[in-house]
């Protein structure tokens, strides 16, 4: 038996030197396509990611859902192959294909084994540049998305998300989910999709990111080969998301929105407002603020509502920092009987952190440490590194951004957090959206001083 250990206090981890983000190299293919590569050896896996500056905020008026429908059709066949043939080719190299349409960007990624890199890249090029868009395929995929939309009406979290965005951004390009609405989606045709692809999903505005167990030169060579005969021209300015053109959203529809879900045992809650864009100079203070308020398990809101009161499985907050000011959102699912109390407490906590309960030294220390000391964990897989590089591209951040991140977070002090709270958190104009049993919760909500709840359908 070896000697026992000291259990009178916790071991104190020493600080390790900061881990450096792997080096990002910039290249431009002979076709003009912009590229970033990261050598990430260890496991024989590669991830390719194409990021394009077009998203659901690019949806033309009355055509909400067009960007996402078009992107969903990328893998439904190419000029050379039917959808089934294309998927058979992807399956043969064990590839994982992912398409993500955000408000500002569309990303198409493909992960495969290193030895299949060339074939994988060729498939990615085929998928994005030469989609088939047969009318029957467009109709089929649109109908599947309409069915999905219909099903989402019974998912309380999806209802809350949709109505929260509609309430915060009435008439604004950020005011709808990527999937669109039943009316807009039903009107979309193959011609709309072909037009949108031509206008928006063009490689001249895209960046190809390659990460994994190949060298920089091997990545570039594979890409030269795969994108050899692919036209590279810029997307139309009109559909590229440009924060200068988006304009500010109008005032919210109501302070309090209630969606009835009769008999529901919980209420799905969203509280927040339009907040900050990614380029806000106090971005790092905002991250520290969020960690303290609701961005991690040991945040004020989660500790109070879950660990003290037991009202919920967990709540969280986030600043969604987009090209233009995105939403700050508190979200959670809480037992119905506690609904009004939870909304009231959230509003009180939003006000307090910039007012009479500023961040404490211990909270500040914890929030900064959680953001900086766990940094290396976020860059373990090729996919994680590729998504991190995509953020650099999307927001025009310098190649050494991640190496400076730790320093910048460590420089955030209590005054900076309080200042960020005062600039970016506004309890007095926050909107609350609640999806829950109206007959049980309406009267409590009315007492919150947010006005009479606006009633909406799921």
């Amino acid at each position: 038996m070896t000697p026992g250990i000291d259990r009178s206090r916790l071991p104190e981890p020493e600080l390790l030197p900061t881990v450096r983000f792997p080096s990002v190299r910039v290249a431009r293919l002979s076709s003009g396509l912009a590229m970033r590569t990261v050598e990430h050896p260890g496991v024989p896996v590669v991830t390719f990611l194409l990021t394009m500056p077009v998203g659901s905020a690019s949806d033309p008026a009355g055509q909400a859902g067009l960007a996402a429908l078009t992107a969903d059709l990328f893998d439904e066949g190419s000029d050379a192959r039917t959808a089934l043939e294309l998927h058979a080719a992807l399956d043969r190299i064990g590839a994982r294909l992912g398409t993500a349409v955000g408000s500002d960007t569309t990303m198409v990624s493909l992960t495969t084994l290193s030895r299949c890199a060339v074939e994988g890249l060729a498939l990615l090029a085929e998928i994005v540049a030469r989609p088939r868009f047969d009318e029957t395929d467009v109709d089929r995929v649109r109908d599947l998305r309409l069915s999905r939309l219909r099903q989402l009406r019974t998912v309380p979290g999806a209802v809350a998300d949709r109505i929260f965005l509609e309430s915060l951004y009435p008439g604004h390009p950020y005011g709808h989910l990527g999937i669109g609405t039943a009316t807009s989606l039903a009107g979309l045709t193959a011609a709309n999709v072909v037009w949108f692809h031509q206008a928006a999903y063009q490689l001249g505005s895209a960046t190809l990111i390659a990460v994994g167990a190949l060298t920089h030169d091997a990545f570039v060579e594979a890409a030269e080969q795969a994108f050899d005969d692919v036209p590279v021209r810029a997307a139309d300015d009109a559909v590229v998301v440009d924060p200068a053109r988006l304009g500010p959203p109008g005032p919210p529809l109501a302070r309090l929105v209630l969606v009835d879900r009769p008999g529901a045992v919980q209420s799905e809650v969203r509280v927040g407002h339009v907040a900050a864009a990614r380029r806000t100079p106090d971005y790092h203070a905002l991250q520290v603020l969020n960690m303290t308020l609701g961005g991690q398990f040991v945040s004020r809101l989660n500790l109070s509502l879950r660990e003290e009161k037991g009202y919920t499985y967990g709540v969280r907050t986030a600043f969604d920092c987009r090209l233009a000011p995105g939403p700050f959102t508190m979200q959670g699912s809480v037992q119905s009987g506690a609904t009004a109390e939870v909304v009231g407490e959230v509003l009180a906590q939003l006000a307090a952190i910039g007012g009479d309960r500023p961040v404490t030294p211990a909270e500040l220390d914890l929030a900064r440490a959680a953001l900086t000391r766990g940094f290396a964990r976020g860059f373990e897989t090729a996919g994680q590194v590729a998504r991190a590089v995509a953020q650099l591209v999307i927001h025009g951040l310098p190649e050494n951004y991640y190496d400076r991140f730790v320093m910048r977070v460590e420089a955030v002090d209590a005054l900076a957090v309080t200042a960020a709270a005062n600039v970016h958190l506004h309890a007095n104009r926050a909107v609350a959206v609640v999806v829950g049993p109206a007959d049980q919760i309406a009267s409590g909500l009315r007492a919150l001083d947010l006005g009479d709840p606006a009633r909406m359908d799921p």
Partner: protein, 440 residues
């Protein structure tokens, strides 16, 4: 496929170390060989509720486990299923002592800190977890109905779900939680895996310092399926038909069968059956139901391999304007075709390529759920051999079209459970002859 060193301490704790120097982090992963299968009827949900209590503090650190580990830049979590409970921390290498200190403290010294107040709080959190993930989700009660029907004897260890019955969670007592800890949470019923930027020999010494002082506990008797009749297998050829009305827009059909257990004969083959039937857009059911006939919005199939038994499930949602009996008909035809002629070589080739790639993708992380440390522990707990990954992969490589045909014919014939979940007030849209399932 992964190099490792395994030792067993005198108190019975298995310790596995895997070196991986790509990144200055280390994953600490601890499995206790206890899950909801160790519970009994009327006392369900305790294993999972207990997992929550493990994060609330121990004798020498009587406050939450998240704060010190997040302060150190670590991530942590835990999960419970029917067979096991796992806990993990992924931390910068300098915080390894902290993670081991905390894991050993809650293994050796939890009870003095396990109070009634914490118990009540986490009972409420768990009831809210159940509301959020099951009761208030469309189709959320399907699993309860399926488990009860596929493992129909009331004492079968898989008859109930891991989240448990609300009434049982409400009835659980602090004394039961204490007894549960004494029975199952000790070194002899646990396996500790470390993976990451560490050196094996010094790290084993470190583990000894933290864990050797914890006494061995009582031997945990293995859980058996029990001697009760397998009612399901004596069901009529068209099987058991159940229905649930729910707040849903589209009806959904679940077809389920009893199948081989984890690593049992035919288990990997059933994964390939699932792949051929519903793995991706080239699969038989996706092609027929969703792509060509457009009578379903989605379809999936899975072999759910568990320690004592397996079950196979095909799930499909009816497209607007279509009914579940149409889906049942087409699925039946496709199953018959597969059982009759088997898959072609291309289907098996594609399925194997996917499986091979998955084995490699899973090597990308050292920590967290399904990272290298979690896989080493899974193999160790279920087979006694942390290096079983190589044989595991071999099982798939041995799959032939003939085997898939044989399994489709043999496993997916009689003794079926068909569960229809239909919109409230539309019981008539369930498969004909269905009776209401009882869930709460």
């Amino acid at each position: 496929m992964l190099d490792y060193t395994k030792i067993s301490l005198e108190n019975g704790l298995d310790v596995i170390v895997h070196e991986d120097h790509r990144c200055p982090i280390v994953a600490v992963n601890l499995w206790y060989h206890v899950g909801s299968k160790n519970e009994s009827p009327g006392r369900t949900g305790l294993a999972h509720l207990f997992e929550h209590l493990m994060f609330e503090g121990s004798a020498h650190h009587d406050s939450g486990y998240f704060a010190p580990l997040q302060q150190a830049g670590g991530a942590l979590n835990g999960s419970t299923n029917c067979d096991r409970t796992n806990y993990w921390e992924a931390v910068p290498t300098s915080a390894l002592d902290l993670a081991l200190w905390l894991e050993s403290d809650r293994m050796g010294y939890l009870l003095p800190a396990l109070t009634a107040a914490k118990f009540e709080n986490q009972r409420n959190v768990v009831l809210n977890e159940r509301r959020q993930h099951y009761e208030n989700q469309p189709y959320g009660m399907a699993l309860m109905a399926l488990m009860a029907a596929v493992f129909p004897t009331a004492h079968h260890p898989y008859h109930w779900t891991t989240i448990g019955e609300s009434v049982d969670v409400r009835a659980a007592t602090l004394e039961e939680a204490h007894a549960f800890f004494r029975t199952y949470y000790h070194p002899g019923n646990a396996s500790l895996a470390l993976a990451g930027d560490v050196e094996t020999r010094p790290v084993l010494e470190k583990v000894r310092r933290y864990f050797e002082e914890i006494p061995a506990g009582p031997v945990v008797p293995p859980v058996a399926e029990g001697a009760g009749p397998m009612v399901l297998n004596e069901a009529p050829p068209d099987g058991i038909r159940l229905l649930l009305e729910d707040r849903v827009e589209l009806p959904r059909l679940y077809l389920a069968w009893r199948t081989p257990r984890l690593f049992g004969t035919g288990d990997a083959g059933m994964d390939m059956v699932a792949e051929v039937l519903a793995g991706g857009k080239t699969s038989r059911l996706y092609r027929t139901l969703v792509h060509e006939r457009r009578i379903a919005t989605d379809v999936s199939a899975a072999q759910n391999s568990r320690e004592l038994a397996g079950w196979f499930c095909i799930t499909a949602t009816a497209a607007p304007g279509h009914e579940l009996y149409e889906l049942e008909q087409v699925i039946g035809d496709e199953l018959a075709a597969l059982a009759d002629a088997g898959p072609d070589a291309g289907e098996i080739e594609r399925g194997l390529a996917q499986v091979e790639a998955q084995f490699v993708y899973r090597l990308q992380t050292v920590g967290g759920f399904n990272g290298r440390s979690d896989q080493l522990n899974a193999y160790n707990v279920y087979t006694g051999d942390p290096g079983f990954m190589t044989q595991d992969r071999e099982r798939y490589r041995e799959t032939t079209p003939a085997l898939v045909r044989e399994l489709a014919a043999g496993q997916l014939s009689g003794g079926r459970v068909a569960l229809s979940i239909v919109p409230d007030g539309s019981a008539n849209r369930a498969l004909a002859g269905s009776t209401p399932a009882e869930v709460s």
